[in-house]
């Protein structure tokens, strides 16, 4: 990879300042960014590590009952520390990549990258999470804007992600065995005022809410409620791992499994 200047600030303010330099790029755990830089698909002039900012690391429960996860918190830490508060979220984190990847990769890095096959976007969107940055709070419904596209501005840092905790929830991932990303992943979350269903891996527009299933499941939270529904295959990703029709079918199957498992 091309060389770069390296900065490792210890406060959010210093990180924002460092990211103000031309062609500066934030570094989370680097599990996607470093391989991308090795391939010379990215060549930042300055890399700003977010891994030494104490207030961006850790999991807690706030007064509103939301699980708050610092942007630089690793997947492994989410597995350990969110399990008591939000088991479905911890379970999702426990199947990202492999153990060594989970010890480095961070939730902020995953959400900032918004890979169309990543797991965390499904959890954030289905939970109605709030993505907190150094300047504002962004609702998950407004945050995800297409494949690798988010509402983040240049130099804006995800400092925390706040997850409302549903009554029941479950994430089902159909793994693409070579990459371990989701070929299709579905997160179902049942709240007192309705059900939210978010799908990752399937659409060329990135993570999306399957609103027809949400309406059906809000009336009848059972696997059979989605049996009669179908997902349009038009915007589905179609590649050597699966056709658009196959992915559309998997969305329904994985939704049914998630509902059954959440039970």
């Amino acid at each position: 990879m091309y060389n770069f200047e390296f900065a490792k600030p210890t406060t959010i303010a210093d990180a924002v300042e460092a990211l103000g330099h031309e062609e500066a790029q934030a570094l989370g755990g680097g599990q996607t960014l470093l391989p991308t830089m090795k391939q010379r698909l990215a060549a930042p002039a300055t890399l700003v590590s977010l891994n030494a900012i104490p207030e961006m690391i850790g999991v807690c429960l706030n007064d509103a009952g939301e699980v708050c996860i610092g942007g630089a918190t690793t997947h492994a830490m989410v597995v350990r520390e969110a399990a008591a508060h939000y088991p479905a979220l911890a379970a999702l984190a426990s199947h990202i990549g492999d153990p060594a990847v989970r010890n480095r990769g961070t939730i902020g890095g995953s959400l900032a990258n918004n890979d169309p096959s990543a797991c965390y976007p499904a959890a954030a969107l289905a939970s109605g999470a709030t993505i907190k940055t150094n300047t504002r709070d962004i609702a998950a419904d407004d945050y995800f804007q297409g494949m690798f596209e988010t509402a983040l501005n240049d130099g804006e840092i995800i400092t925390e992600v706040r997850f409302p905790v549903p009554q029941t929830a479950n994430y089902q991932k159909f793994v693409q065995p070579a990459s371990r990303f989701a070929l299709v992943g579905v997160f179902v979350a049942q709240f007192a005022d309705g059900v939210r269903v978010a799908v990752t891996g399937a659409s060329s527009d990135g993570v999306f809410r399957w609103t027809e299933a949400e309406a059906a499941l809000s009336g009848d939270f059972s696997k059979s409620a989605v049996d009669g529904l179908s997902v349009p295959s038009g915007s589905m990703i179609s590649d050597l791992h699966g056709s658009g029709d196959y992915r559309a079918h998997l969305v329904k199957v994985m939704t049914g499994r998630a509902v059954a498992a959440a039970g």
Binding site: F6, N51, D98, P99, A100
Partner: protein, 161 residues
């Protein structure tokens, strides 16, 4: 060049590195600890796994400067103080858990990380934990058997499938 300091296998070390210097390169080129192998260089294969502050990490996908001040343990730090093989290493030898040996440093480091958190893993848990460690020789059975044996469990019933 920037100076980086770490504790590697219990010794304080330092060296001048570039921003882009990977932990794997610092260990291999800077410290001449060539037991850590670089297989795929894309964080798929796990030959480069070392422990950073007690956790398994793929050293080909971590920057040396990002780990300034860290405690690192490599395969060179795994043997007993008298030079004899550690329990895990000895189990790999006893159960023929390696053939060409290229993946073995990463396998041993991953196994050690697993057994630290889960001293008596099931066979399924061992296989699950090794998801990010690829071996092209053994078919994994004897690696799994070695790790189960190192955890003190009876492996006579684990047959090659």
């Amino acid at each position: 060049m920037t100076q980086v300091k770490m504790t590697v296998n219990g010794k304080s070390v330092s060296g001048d590195v570039e921003g882009r210097t990977l932990l794997a390169d610092f260990l291999r080129e800077g410290l001449r600890l060539t037991g850590t192998h670089i297989g795929c260089d894309t964080s798929q294969c796990g030959a480069c796994v070392v422990h950073v502050n007690g956790e398994a990490v793929k050293s080909c996908t971590a920057l040396a400067l990002d780990l300034d001040g860290a405690e690192v343990v490599t395969i060179e730090g795994m043997a007993n103080p008298d030079g004899s093989l550690s329990v895990i290493q000895q189990a790999f030898q006893d159960h023929h858990g390696l053939q060409c040996g290229f993946c073995t440093p990463g396998m041993v480091m991953s196994a050690a990380a697993l057994l630290k958190d889960n001293p008596k893993p099931s066979e399924h848990e061992v296989r699950d934990y090794l998801e990010g460690n690829i071996c092209r020789c053994t078919g994994y059975h004897n690696i799994v058997k070695a790790i189960m044996a190192a955890s003190g469990q009876d492996v006579t019933q684990i047959a090659a499938e």
